[in-house]
């Protein structure tokens, strides 16, 4: 079965550079979530989209932005990168038109800022 695809899997950037993370949800899933997980930390919710519109916002820095495109894939844009942005970034998708739904997570993108 198709899963959530994230690219790239690994990314190394220098401070003050920009990065773009991509997420391809499971087909027919209409909701995408982004999470940041630092070393030894629990996943922190950043932002979510439902039907290409932002639905919830968490602890996403102003330097970050995200959007969901017409084909439902989503991109997380990160600018002015800081060392503290080094983390695993997970994308998840779900189908919100059903009750009692589960979210499926991708394998994550490991971002290292040097």
């Amino acid at each position: 079965a198709a899963g959530v695809i994230q690219s790239p899997r690994h990314l190394i950037k220098e401070k003050r550079e920009t990065a773009t993370l991509k997420c391809y949800p499971i087909p027919r899933h209409d909701t995408v979530y982004w999470y940041q997980q630092g070393p030894g930390q629990d996943p922190q919710f950043l932002i979510s989209f439902y039907e290409k519109m932002q639905s919830d916002k968490g602890s996403i820095p102003d330097r970050f932005s995200a959007q969901q495109f017409s084909d439902y894939h989503s991109e997380l844009n990160m600018s002015s990168l800081e060392l503290g942005d080094s983390a695993l970034y997970f994308c998840a998708s779900s189908a919100r038109d059903r009750m009692n739904t589960e979210a499926f997570f991708g394998q994550g993108t490991r971002l290292t800022v040097v």
Binding site: Y35, D42, F45, S48, S55, S94, A103, R110
Partner: protein
């Protein structure tokens, strides 16, 4: 969103049953209880979800008392591969399913 409280860590041995309890005193009427499992450097994986009473699937059972202020994830006959972090999440289901908020999970270590 309802705040959850779980034990920070638990230890068990292969073949034992493990019960992880989550406290969620201010759970709302439309909130569901969901458990996720996470291995190092991997995305969380859905285990089970329930609203009340008992739910069972091929990997776990979820017990929810009548007041819904707590829930217990039961893993039967754990193996070494069940060593992971387990998260209890409480939030609305259906069309208001806006986000999943992860609190501090339970680090389960299964010993030989």
């Amino acid at each position: 969103l309802a705040k959850t409280t779980q034990p920070i860590s638990m230890d068990s041995y292969e073949g034992q049953e493990v019960n992880i309890t989550c406290s969620h005193n201010n759970i709302a009427t439309n909130d569901y209880i969901t458990w996720y499992q996470q291995f190092p450097s991997q995305g969380p994986r859905f285990i089970i979800q329930g609203y009340k009473t008992k739910v069972t699937n091929e990997v776990a059972s979820l017990f929810i008392p009548a007041d819904r202020k707590s829930s217990t994830l039961s893993l039967p006959r754990v193996s070494l591969s069940d060593t992971a972090v387990y998260y209890c999440l409480v939030g609305p289901g259906g069309t208001s399913y806006g986000k999943l908020t992860f609190g501090q999970g339970t680090i389960l270590t299964v010993h030989p």
